[in-house]
């Protein structure tokens, strides 16, 4: 028995990928022409899997703010938020996030992973109970495993199953932490937050919503699915990331619970890591302003999402259950998905490949994330590239 034996399935996957000459994991972006076009693995392509939902990574205001911070404050903070790594910008961003979400408290983390993992591992500990949606992101699973709470998963987007499990908890339900996502990253479907909040109202407990894929995209003010559903006051903690709609890197938690300020000093992923660099904080602050000043970006994103979703659906492809910023084609055969990823790249379109165990079940996915920066013509080119696949995804009838 070798230390490395357990990696054999991964080694097999790598070998399978090399056999097809595809390099979907870690494909190198060598040059960017815009938020939606670049050179990947030596080929000029439309970027259709970047999560750069609003094109903020190349927004002039964001770049200018980052450049100024870089010149004024240097390349890094070289410290944890708890030591010397809290700069004025970190505090300002926390205030601005709290104001944006209309909450009293906010914490900024160095990555989205650190935010969701940190909150999941800290809020509930030994003796507590967490109920999480089965399709929750890996960072949530990792966090709740670390925290030592009893972890119960409920069927994806199934409020009735959540209700059943809350009932089984008896008196313990009143202190349980429920964790869901606003929009799920794999298929782009939204949580039935109104129904989930109804369960919470009936049984008590706390609710945390990960709005990683919905910040800036959903809701009248872009605050996410909780805003759109009209249940913000029932959500105890909203977590998310800066690395999608805000085009930078980092994460956050906002809440009206004043205790969040105490919790901050118990979150290991907040304490024992360097804080975000000044340039990252500056570009994030600028992006947060831009998405409030330009609500038309949301409209553009949804127009593009609808165009792509319907385009793939009309091709007869098996895709996610609803229109959203994530549009995934579902393949029951992993090798067909791998070959299709490679062929899409050859047709000038770069998407994300997801294979088990990263996918929610035994299927593989070719996952697009739509951007407001895509032109309608680019969306049509993406659809045309899918149409040219000799090996189509499962048919919609499946």
């Amino acid at each position: 028995m070798s230390l490395f034996d357990k990696f054999q399935p991964l080694a097999q996957l790598r070998a399978d990928l090399q056999a097809t000459a595809a390099q979907p994991f870690g494909a190198a972006t060598e040059k960017l022409f815009s938020a939606t076009e670049g050179i990947v693995n030596g080929r000029r392509v439309i970027l259709a899997g970047t999560n750069n939902y609003l094109g903020m990574s190349l927004d002039p205001d964001c770049i200018s703010a980052a450049q100024q911070a870089l010149a004024d404050q240097g390349t890094g903070t070289t410290g944890s938020r708890m030591a010397s790594g809290t700069f004025a910008g970190h505090l300002a961003l926390e205030q601005e996030l709290a104001a944006f979400f209309d909450k009293s408290n906010a914490i900024v983390f160095s990555t989205g992973y650190a935010a969701t993992m940190g909150m999941g591992s800290t809020l509930a500990g030994p003796g507590d109970v967490i109920l999480l949606d089965a399709d929750s992101h890996a960072s949530i699973y990792d966090g709740v495993r670390l925290g030592g709470a009893e972890v119960i998963r409920f069927k994806h987007n199934d409020a009735a199953d959540l209700e059943k499990r809350m009932r089984r908890l008896g008196e313990r339900a009143a202190n349980a932490l429920i964790i869901v996502e606003g929009i799920y990253s794999m298929l782009g479907d939204q949580a039935p937050l109104a129904e989930i909040v109804d369960v919470k109202r009936n049984y008590g407990g706390y609710l945390m919503v990960d709005e990683a894929h919905s910040l800036g995209i959903v809701g009248a003010n872009g605050r996410g699915v909780a805003e759109q559903t009209g249940v913000e006051d029932d959500v105890d903690f909203i977590v998310g990331t800066f690395s999608k709609s805000l085009g930078s890197i980092g994460g956050y938690c906002v809440s009206n619970h004043a205790e969040l300020e105490t919790v901050r000093y118990a979150i290991r992923s907040y304490i024992f890591t360097a804080s975000s660099s000044p340039a990252v904080i500056a570009s994030t602050r600028a992006a947060l302003k831009v998405i409030q000043q330009r609500p038309e970006l949301r409209t553009q994103l949804w127009n593009n999402a609808e165009r792509l979703y319907n385009g793939l659906k009309n091709l007869g492809m098996r895709i996610g259950p609803e229109v959203g910023p994530v549009v995934a084609a579902i393949f029951s055969e992993r090798d067909a998905a791998i070959n299709s990823w490679k062929q899409l790249l050859e047709h000038g379109v770069c998407v994300n490949l997801v294979v088990p165990p990263a996918s929610p079940d035994t299927n593989s996915l070719l996952r697009c994330s739509v951007s407001a920066a895509h032109s309608p013509e680019q969306i049509d080119q993406i659809i045309a590239a899918y149409a040219a696949l000799p090996c189509n995804s499962d048919s919609a009838a499946n």
């Binding site: 089965a134 495993r145 009893e150 972890v151 119960i152 998963r153 069927k155 059943k164 499990r165 089984r168 908890l169 088990p356 165990p357 079940d361 035994t362």
Partner: protein, 81 residues
């Protein structure tokens, strides 16, 4: 709440269709090493148990549930009468 024997009998019964033709599942058959269940199949198995007995099985228990006997034992411990 169900007792150890009820849990174990039910688990062996729902495992049997997952065994290769001719193989007999016992209370000590290993779910992954012998039956070759994937993590997804283990979760589906757990869901069947949860629905049948109207209980929730915490994910924390799964690492110590390698056989029907171990599953039944953990369920008894976690759901005392």
């Amino acid at each position: 709440m169900a007792d150890f024997a009820s849990y174990q009998t039910f688990i062996v019964k729902i495992l049997q269709p997952l065994a290769k033709q001719g193989a007999i599942v016992t209370e000590d058959t290993k779910l992954v090493a012998e039956l070759g269940l994937s993590s997804l199949q283990v979760m589906e198995l757990v869901e069947q148990i949860e629905d049948h007995f109207d209980i929730s099985v915490p994910l924390n228990l799964l690492p110590d549930m390698n056989t029907a006997r171990e599953m039944a034992q953990r369920l008894v411990e976690n759901n005392p009468s």
